[in-house]
């Protein structure tokens, strides 16, 4: 029989105490790991989405609101920027690509985002090995609607003098690419048709654009970003369907510009170009440029205080639970004097007794910690569903190396907590106890 066998048998002898003390550790570790996992995974997910582009150009106002609305499809758009800015940026040296964005419609709560096909051709997302990869399609393909066709449509609308009641004239615009979550939640699939509604909540009864029934031509593979729960349509559709009254009546240079853009995704060449373009846009009176990665960092700095408080509380729960383990074992020391004396009579060294009791405490912490991580995985999977539902950011519930470190730390702390009762075992005077014939 080895020391581990003795420890396990002793834990088995006191099942209620073992289960209760392990559960208290599990609760603390579960809370601690959950708070940490959701925060870290959430931040990772937000940063992953932020990698879609270098800059998001939009109306003056809150840069965070602009990024959250344009990239994460949350909240309200801060307003529009002139269409002409898009054309300017396309022609600006140092701009690799620019994707115009229009928002405002939805289908059953899934926001409809007007973009050009460049989004699917040019955007790359980080992958596990540290490199990046283009967007992949689970089914179908992207709609064929490049920047040139959008520019051509805009010119046509300007020349034609109208701009919002022409849905039937451009049936090729009624195409859609849907995210993987959208497909799962709505049942839409390749070839499905749906009516966009002029309402972001997707409530039944919202005004639907019957003239712009869209056909699904592509379903994106999961990206782990808010793109998964969005619906992408050719941006031109936003300019030809009814109900989209002009919102930007102050075009630059006096040219008629019936409608602006909600935002522009921008990818610039590395180096000085980025700063120059960023400054140039922010010097304008009618637009701003926000850096998504910076906004996400600021956001998490903002909520970091709450996160720290939650982690401190859950760490306190772990400490109290480990103190409970120490007290529970210590309280058995009186009743176990004979057991330790027998060990000594059988040849156990004092140090061995110290090790056995310490190992008992560490084992309870280890068992509790392991169940805590299991509890955390369950809580994180629930939390992940909520996080994905509200932000579109996907979070993995699987334990990572950080969780294993936490488990090791809790086990070590459990061993430390066991030192107090272990010292009592160490001092066992076997000869006196055994000769008392109790």
């Amino acid at each position: 029989m080895k020391a581990a066998g003795i420890v396990l048998r002793n834990l088995r002898r006191r099942p209620l105490a073992t289960v209760l003390t392990s559960l208290s550790v599990a609760l603390g570790v579960g809370l601690f790991a959950t708070v940490g996992a959701l925060r870290e995974a959430g931040e990772r997910g937000f940063h992953r989405t932020a990698a879609l582009c270098d800059q998001v150009v939009g109306a003056k106002g809150s840069s965070l609101q602009l990024v959250l609305n344009a990239l994460y499809h949350m909240g309200q758009s801060p307003g529009n920027v002139p269409y002409s800015l898009y054309e300017e940026l396309r022609a600006t040296p140092g701009v690799e690509w620019a994707v115009p964005v229009a928002v405002g419609d939805a289908y059953r709560g899934h926001r409809i985002v007007g973009v050009t096909g460049d989004l699917f051709a040019r955007v790359r997302l980080p992958v596990a090995d540290g490199s990046d990869a283009p967007l992949a399609f689970a089914r179908g393909a992207a709609f064929d609607y490049g920047a040139d066709r959008f520019v051509e449509l805009k010119r046509h609308l300007e020349e034609d003098g109208h701009g919002s009641e022409h849905g039937n004239e451009f049936p090729e615009l009624a195409r859609a690419v849907i995210g993987s979550e959208t497909a799962a939640a709505t049942g839409l699939t390749l070839g499905s048709r749906f009516l966009p509604a002029h309402d972001l909540t997707g409530d039944a009864g919202a005004a639907e654009h019957e003239e712009a029934e869209c056909e699904v031509v592509g379903v994106l593979a999961p990206t782990g970003t808010p793109m998964d729960r969005a619906i992408f349509v050719p941006i031109g559709l936003y300019y030809v369907i009814a109900g989209h009254a002009p919102t930007d009546a102050t075009p630059e240079g006096g040219a008629r510009d019936p409608r602006g853009l909600s935002a522009i995704y921008l990818r610039t060449r590395a180096g000085m170009h980025q700063i120059r373009i960023w400054r140039a846009i922010n010097d304008r009176l009618d637009a701003q440029s926000a850096r998504p990665s910076e906004e996400v960092r600021n956001l998490f700095t903002l909520v970091g205080g709450i996160d720290r408080v939650l982690r401190a509380i859950s760490a306190l729960v772990v400490i109290v639970a480990l103190a409970g383990v120490m007290v529970a074992i210590y309280n058995t020391m009186g009743a176990r004097r004979r057991e330790f004396a027998v060990y000594r009579a059988l040849g156990a060294r004092r140090r061995t007794l110290l090790g056995l009791v310490t190992a008992e405490s560490a084992a309870i912490a280890l068992i509790g910690g392991a169940f805590g991580l299991l509890l955390s995985a369950i809580l994180v999977s629930f939390g992940a569903a909520i996080l994905q539902g509200t932000t579109g950011v996907s979070v993995s519930a699987l334990p990572d190396s950080g969780d294993l470190l936490l488990l090791a730390a809790v086990t070590a702390a459990g061993a430390l907590a066991g030192l107090v009762p272990a010292a009592a075992a160490y001092r066992t005077e076997a000869a006196r106890i055994l000769s008392a014939n109790v």
């Binding site: 003795i6 060990y343 059988l346 040849g347 060294r349 004092r350 140090r351 061995t352 014939n437």
Partner: protein, 220 residues
């Protein structure tokens, strides 16, 4: 003549410390030959148990010299004496000291836990069968009679094939018939195992079954 397995010479043991404390035990000379079975008798408090604890290395002598199975215990530190005890000494107690929540087999296996070497496979079962408990390997101590508990305790003491079996009033808690049966078993099993036995007892009837009886008072 072969050297004795146990040799105690000029040993004194005091408890409580201080110069004014009288020795609990004082042994001028005490020797036991290999394979011998010796009964230790004496009045209560005469130091029988203390002498057993000194021979096992559980206690350290204040002065004098103790040699057991070729090891000079008085020259060893506590940890070394513990290692020696685990490998060379088996202990039998008056109240057996089996651990609750451990089966008979587990209690016997526990005897080998600290010896630093694994006993032959099936040794615990073999010993339990030898003491007549082959059908009760997985019984809890509370499911065994007092006599059966004594037998489990004997099996535990012998699992490491010790050279010395020290027994402290092993029949003190048993009725006459059970005590006699257990004593017979101890002596027979020890003979089969080739184990030297030193048994503290206050019962002349028990002592009569041993090769030799020594009164602790006569050792001073």
């Amino acid at each position: 003549m072969t050297a004795p397995l146990i040799r105690v010479a000029g040993v004194e043991k005091r408890f409580g410390g201080g110069d004014g404390v009288a020795p609990v035990l004082s042994v001028r000379a005490f020797e036991v030959a290999r394979g011998e079975r010796v009964a230790l008798m004496g009045a209560s408090g005469s130091g029988k148990t203390t002498l057993l604890n000194l021979i096992s290395g559980l206690l350290a002598a204040d002065v004098g010299r103790i040699e057991v199975a070729g090891a000079e215990l008085t020259g060893l530190g506590e940890a070394a004496r513990d290692r020696f005890r685990a490998r060379h000494v088996g202990f039998l107690f008056q109240t057996f000291h089996l651990l609750d929540g451990w089966t008979a087999r587990e209690n016997v296996e526990l005897g080998a836990a600290f010896a630093g070497r694994r006993p032959p496979a099936g040794r615990a079962e073999e010993l339990l069968r030898a003491v007549g408990l082959g059908e009760r390997l997985d019984y809890w101590p509370s499911q065994l009679s007092v006599g059966q508990q004594a037998r489990v305790s004997l099996a535990r003491a012998l699992i490491n094939k010790p050279e010395v079996l020290l027994a402290d009033e092993p029949t003190g808690a048993l009725d006459v018939a059970t005590g006699a049966a257990v004593l017979r078993l101890i002596l027979d099993t020890a003979r089969v195992e080739g184990t030297t036995v030193v048994c503290a007892t206050h019962d002349p009837g028990v002592a009569a079954d041993f090769d030799r009886t020594v009164r602790v008072e006569d050792l001073q």
